[in-house]
Amino acid sequence: MDNLIYLDHGSTTPTDQRVVEAMLPYFNKLYGNPSSIYSLARESKRAKEDAREEVAKLLNAKAEEIVFTSGGTEADNSAIKGIAFANKAKGNHIITSRIEHHAVLNTCKWLSGQGFTVSYIGVDKYGVLDLDELKGAITDKTILITIMHANNEVGVIEPLAEIARIAKDSGVCLHTDAVQTVGKIPVDVNVLGIDLLVLSGHKFYGPKGVGALYIRKGTKIASLLHGGYHEGNRRAGTENIPGIVGLGKVCKIAMEEREEDEKRVKALRDDLEERIAKKIDDIIVNGHPEMRLAGTLNICVKYIEGESMLLCLDHEGIAASSGSACTSASLEPSHVLTAMGIPAELAHGSLRFTLGRSNTKEDIDKVIEVLPPIVSKLRKMSPFGKG
């Protein structure tokens, strides 16, 4: 994979070598179970609490407000089900958006089979949440609003602070899936004014299989995993110490390097966007022109299908993704693009580039070199007659 041009950082990222090195001692030197009392175990406990401090610092939260999980999906499940089950007596209505990640959408869907009702708020053509619809959806039975911070497919950044004001005015708890923003843009739980937040290590150069849930002090929440007394009784299971240490380390790195990274990545993305738009006819750039993650470029290439573009790109050593049905396990095209009003046949032809730390100007040049011929080859095969 040596000459690989990796443009799928939104899907996962390589673990920073400094992070791997920070983790290594915890596999078989400092391997104690933090629940035990001897010194080896206390080392693990200390490492875990240090990591918690780092995560908290990145979010401007308190250490005791952080719970480690096995990733973003578990954390989203914990947050949403946890609030739902803890507040059954108060109400049974949950509000979310139509463009959430499946970790949120399918959790809400499951809850609607457990006596809860869910409202799915729409977005405009840029993917920005309809705040009026949100306001109108709140009832006295509403116990949770869960809106993602930035969308994984198109990178649109939602107006979370405004959403928080609406939630606060109605006294409703607000959760945000910040898996795509933590480590990439500033995420301050107090500036944003949210009650729960989810992050995932592998999306910003940390290890896979570890994430965290921020729970504002005083928030009533039930736990998802039952078992031993771990994480202040909020998440049972022997802690993944190497993973947690890795997450702490990557948060520390993000504190120091995020801003620089963001600038560099944005310049590359803007260059890619501009040159693609110049070189290829009949494309649409998806997502908000400004309120968009620096690394994300999502386009629809008319008349052709996404998976076939990805295969051709892969053949050239370029890794990217698509909202085509053929790249998902369902037979539907991206629910995000369709929520934005993009017709299904166009959504099938979407292509997502998510740039990251490893990318260089040369990578962009290469995409600009190979993508136009790929598009024209596939369009020649297309029955839409624009070949």
Binding site: I304, E305, S324, C326, S382, P383
Partner: protein, 136 residues
């Protein structure tokens, strides 16, 4: 999801791409809303498919099966062509991921639709009803 080498080979170098200007039969199957659309053009002489071309909007599997099915039916009689199933196409491609099996149906249907169109036109041209000869 992993494609066989043969699928990838057909996807990267698809056989018989294009249109036949005055084809004897044209079949269009699939639906772009569902992510695939295939147009199949055939030329028939003495009940044999002498030429075939396709245009496909779709994923790797859709394109590879389109390509493969054109190879399989070329120079075959109509009857032989109609007996080719999606399973034959998949087998010739050394298999498809389970989630992609439905794409191979498109290839079978495309051929059938083109042949049906050919027969309809022939019906008209011959000015007589050949319905009884249709075996499928």
């Amino acid at each position: 999801m992993e494609y066989s080498e043969k699928v990838m080979e057909h996807f990267m170098n698809p056989r018989n791409v294009g249109e036949i200007k005055d084809a004897d039969g044209v079949g269009e199957v699939g639906n772009p809303v569902c992510g695939d659309l295939m147009t199949m053009y055939i030329r028939v002489k003495d009940d044999v498919i002498t030429d075939i071309k396709f245009k496909t909007f779709g994923c790797g599997a859709a394109i590879a099966t389109s390509s493969m099915v054109t190879e399989l039916v070329k120079d075959k009689t109509i009857k032989e062509a109609l007996s080719i199933t999606n399973k034959d196409v998949v087998d010739e491609l050394d298999g498809l991921p389970p989630i992609k099996m439905h794409c191979s149906l498109l290839a079978e249907e495309g051929i059938k639709a083109a042949i049906e169109d050919y027969r309809k036109r022939k019906d008209k041209k011959d000015s007589r009803n050949q319905r009884f000869e249709i075996e499928n």
